[in-house]
């Protein structure tokens, strides 16, 4: 995993609450056995017409969006299915962060494991960002701050362990594997109730 470094970007504004993972990537694209090629399918049913042509009025089809690394969305982003294809599609499109007032639990976990930073901001800041969609903001995970134009900073919460892993490029599975002795002793003390002779 590469280390998560500070960056600056304009915002792609999606003023919709409860964006579910079926919108982020529709289920019919989950038949793949690979992680690749999902960026073109991001928000497919909002982004393309019935013939598969990009809808010019959908924000992800604008040249500005393609150069942006931050998605600004409504409350409870990423609700619904556990599909990790959602953060895969978002990062392959080019996003490195999503800003909202809240995230669904499974999506937040999946995003953090794929270097996509879910940034929770207070409601007033959220409204202010929506009112000024053309600004650029700076994201610094080390200091857990967004820097708005003019230098004003907004702190955001991140799980300490996830932050550490992202900043240092640490892979969680490697960390768990190091605890093999603890796992083995837990197993020795807790036999499974599943009747495996079935």
């Amino acid at each position: 995993m590469t280390k998560f470094t500070p960056f600056e970007s304009r915002l792609v504004v999606l003023p919709i609450d409860n964006v579910d993972t079926d919108q982020i990537i529709p289920a019919r694209f989950l038949k793949t056995i690979s992680k690749d090629g999902l960026g073109d399918q991001l928000f497919y049913d909002w982004r393309y017409d019935a013939e598969g042509k990009p809808k010019p009025d959908f924000i992800l089809n604008t040249p500005e969006a393609k150069a942006s690394k931050i998605l600004l969305a409504g409350d409870n982003f990423g609700c619904g299915s556990s599909r990790e294809h959602a953060p895969w599609a978002l990062t392959q499109y080019g996003f490195r962060a999503v800003i909202s007032t809240s995230f669904a639990d499974i999506f937040r976990g999946n995003a953090l494991k794929n270097s996509l930073l879910p940034i929770v901001v207070p409601r007033d800041i959220h409204a202010e960002l929506f009112a000024n969609p053309n600004i650029s903001v700076n994201v610094d995970l080390a200091t857990q701050t967004l820097t708005l134009p003019g230098g004003r900073t907004v702190e955001f919460p991140v799980d300490g362990f996830a932050r550490h892993c992202l900043l240092e490029g640490i892979d969680e599975l490697g960390y768990i594997l190091q605890q093999e002795p603890a796992i083995a002793s837990f197993e020795a003390a807790h036999p499974s109730p599943i009747n495996t002779t079935a």
């Binding site: 003023p15 919709i16 609450d17 409860n18 579910d20 079926d22 919108q23 529709p26 289920a27 019919r28 989950l30 038949k31 793949t32 056995i33 690979s34 992680k35 049913d45 019935a50 409504g74 409350d75 409870n76 609700c79 619904g80 299915s81 556990s82 599909r83 990790e84 809240s102 669904a104 639990d105 499974i106 976990g109 999946n110 494991k113 794929n114 929506f130 799980d159 300490g160 362990f161 550490h164 969680e172 599975l173 960390y175 768990i176 594997l177 605890q179 093999e180 603890a182 796992i183 837990f186 197993e187 807790h190 499974s192 109730p193 599943i194 009747n195 495996t196 079935a198």
Partner: protein, 468 residues
């Protein structure tokens, strides 16, 4: 000792290690695997040269991209066929038991876990699927995970997790005729919204929950995620033990008695504190139905579709307006009487034998309304066999419904079973998101009783009018 909730007890029983600055390392008792969210995880193991740590605690089946056409036919969709084949190959390679397409135990992952006796009280259960909360009906801590976490569990049988908040959902009183478990959960989600349970695990309790059968408890727990809760559970009781007893993977003989004794210690202690709580009066519930594009957009079936003009928050107002535009529904009008094109009876929410019996009760000696397509999809091969032994398939066929093979089918529309653009369905599944049942399709979520009643009349129908 401080009184604890069942949620805290299960958590405490599964702590492998706790290090400062890191989440708890939690042991997983049962890992269920299906074809859609696992191939990249198996690739991760191959890339690192890792084995599956506990193939004996890992069970796979094919359900999501699996056709519900006769099993003698090949899978037409080559991409889906490759995914199903990949699961079977990976299971062979890593020594995992797989109930594949040709198995008599194949079915929706959340239907077969309980029916095989794999799901047991006090367990931690995970699956790369958000409806894993279904298994909470047994008093298990069961939650959905992403593919990276699937890889973690395959490799280590453990997960790094932070403790969730506890949320007591108390449902007291008796349900009136025609009102079911599905209506309880749709009412809860409508009440607290689809983000209302974020960060929490629900414990469903109260006299109305205690009175539910295991299958009904599964329906309630199944949709915990639709209120944002990662898990939801019901403390085990004699109904639970009676259901689990004698199933193939359940403990036997002396081991059974000892295990039940340990299960009896699981229920929440008197005086235990929850972080949040809500009470619902079961007697006040009506059949519920959704009108919008998330499961929180639900109303009692006799109520009116809400009006965006009544909402002050601009983003919330626009979200409701957007939903009504997608659904092509006028605000302030009833849903009752709205024409229906398709009725889907199935999914991990409502595809068990009791669900099919409920639907058959309405469809018996009646006909599906001309122009309505009705699909009945059993949750598993075992449910299918049981339904056929009871003659339910004959009732469905005689009514003009389509009787299918087991799978997720039109709940997620990955397998060719889908709505056409603009079509309306009454569906017993769990999600009404835009395009969930097929691009441009429009979903009304409801109980099997409501779905079957609407199949007969061709319009959204209050089942109570057919029960008299």
């Amino acid at each position: 000792m401080k009184p604890r909730t069942i949620i805290e007890k299960i958590w405490d029983n599964h702590i492998v290690s706790e290090r400062s600055g890191a989440p708890t390392l939690l042991y997983i008792d049962l890992h269920l695997v299906h074809e859609v969210t696992s191939p990249q995880a198996f690739d991760g193991l191959r890339a690192r040269g890792l084995k599956v740590r506990r193939p004996d605690l890992t069970i796979a089946t094919t359900d999501h991209s699996t056709p519900t056409t006769p099993r003698s036919l090949p899978i037409v969709d080559k991409v889906a066929a490759a995914q199903v084949a990949r699961l079977e190959a990976s299971c062979k390679e890593f020594g995992i038991r797989c109930f594949g397409l040709s198995s008599a135990q194949q079915g929706i992952v959340h239907v077969i876990g309980p029916e095989l006796g794999l799901t047991q009280p006090g367990m931690t259960v995970v699956c790369g699927d958000s409806h894993t909360a279904t298994h909470g009906a047994f008093g298990a801590l069961a939650f959905g995970i992403g593919t990276t976490e699937v890889e973690h569990v395959l490799a280590t049988q453990c997960l790094l997790q932070n403790r969730s908040k506890t949320y007591e959902v108390r449902v007291d009183g008796a349900l009136k005729p025609g009102i079911t478990a599905k209506d309880i959960i749709l009412a809860l989600i409508a009440r607290i919204g689809i983000g209302g349970g974020t960060g929490c695990v629900f414990e469903y309790c109260g006299s109305a929950i205690r009175a539910l059968s295991m299958e009904e408890r599964m329906t309630v727990c199944n949709m915990s995620i639709e209120a944002g809760a990662r898990a939801g559970l019901v403390a085990p009781d004699d109904i639970t033990y009676q259901y689990a007893s004698g199933r193939p993977y359940a403990p036997e003989n002396k081991a059974w008695d000892a295990t039940v004794a340990s299960w009896r210690k699981l229920p929440t202690d008197d005086g235990a504190q929850f972080d949040k709580s809500i009470t619902i009066d079961a007697a006040s519930l009506e059949p519920m139905i959704t009108f919008g594009t998330n499961p929180g957009m639900g109303i009692p079936i006799t109520a009116m579709v809400p009006n965006p003009g009544d909402i002050t928050d601009p983003l919330e107002r626009e979200s409701l307006a957007k939903a009504l535009r997608y659904m092509d529904l006028p605000p302030g009008k009833p849903l009752l009487g709205h024409p229906v094109n398709v009725v889907f009876i199935g999914s991990c929410t409502n595809s068990r034998i009791s669900d099919l019996r409920n639907a058959a009760k309405i469809l018996k000696d009646r006909k599906v309304h001309p122009g309505v397509r009705v699909m009945v999809v059993p949750g598993s091969q075992q449910v299918k066999a049981q339904a056929q032994a009871e003659g339910l398939d004959q009732i469905f066929r005689a009514a003009g419904a389509d009787w299918r093979e087991a799978g997720c089918s039109m709940c997620i529309a990955m397998n060719g079973d889908q709505l056409q653009p603009g079509e309306y369905s009454v569906s017993t599944s769990n999600r009404n998101f835009e395009g969930r049942q097929g691009k441009g399709g429009r979903t009304f979520l409801a109980s099997p009783l409501t779905a079957a009643a609407s199949a007969v009349t061709g319009v959204v129908t209050d089942v109570r009018t057919l029960l008299q």
